[in-house]
Amino acid sequence: MEFIIKLIYVMLGFVYLKSNSEKIKEPHLYFVAMKDYNIVKSHKILYYLTPLLISLELLLAMLLITTIYSGLILLFGVIVQGFYIFILVKNVNHAFQNNCGCFTLNAPKTVTTSNLAMNIFLLVLIVLLYGWESRI
């Protein structure tokens, strides 16, 4: 049973790694997308927030792939996914012109129900995997 949990952790890690690699390749486009999402008004804060988000997501991907620290996976997973769910809910009905459409997982060009469903699924999966692992 433990093997299945670890396998799902690793698969989830690669999902985050794939999503993160696009952000690492085009950090400025990610900054522009985040600016459109109107999270904070000050650009200065966003300059620090965007790389922090990219680093957090990379850290989460690495933690998921190594599968050792499940407590940290839960902590960072809830922070990252909670943040993305918050920005999607905040921007429901919005279509963004400056968004390149390359960050489909967390910062899509048009916010749809399937985007939110995917992000809720990831959050729920991280929480359930932790709950399952701690009950074995």
């Binding site: 429901v92 129900t113 469903a117 729920v124 932790y130």
Partner: protein
Amino acid sequence: MAVMTLIFSTSVSIVFFISGFSKVLSLKEASLSLEQIDFIPKRLKRITGTVFPFIELTLAILLIIASSNFMINVITIILISVFILVNFQAINDRKPKSCFCFGKLIKTELGYGGLTQSLILLLFVIPNIVFNKSNITVLDVLFSHNLQLIEVFFIIFSMIISTSMLFLSRSFVDKLMPV
């Protein structure tokens, strides 16, 4: 921490109980109310509408008597995720749809209020999965001989406050941000 998770899961249970019970009182309307939800197959809409209140009631009881059970928490979290998506879809469509979430007891609509309530429900269930690993239920805590009357009173008071918050948040947000 275990007591906190029990307070939260009991609040979720109370919401499910009120929702299920109010739908059972007007079962016909409850089954018809699902007609507006697009992602349920047409054939299954009637039967889902009829069975759904009983699922909510069963889940409400199970959340009280076996709140630490992993499968019960999984089903609860799936159900809440569906609520979130249904409300989100209604906001995305920009069409006000009546919800019948609490039957004829409380008149509700799908939208920001429902979305807020569902997100808080999700926040209330997550600690139950993460922290509640013992088999202690809220009934064990309330009828424990080790607790003083003031502690029992505090637990019941916290449950009432968190449940009221779940209902008030919905009506408050609905009034503040109509679809």
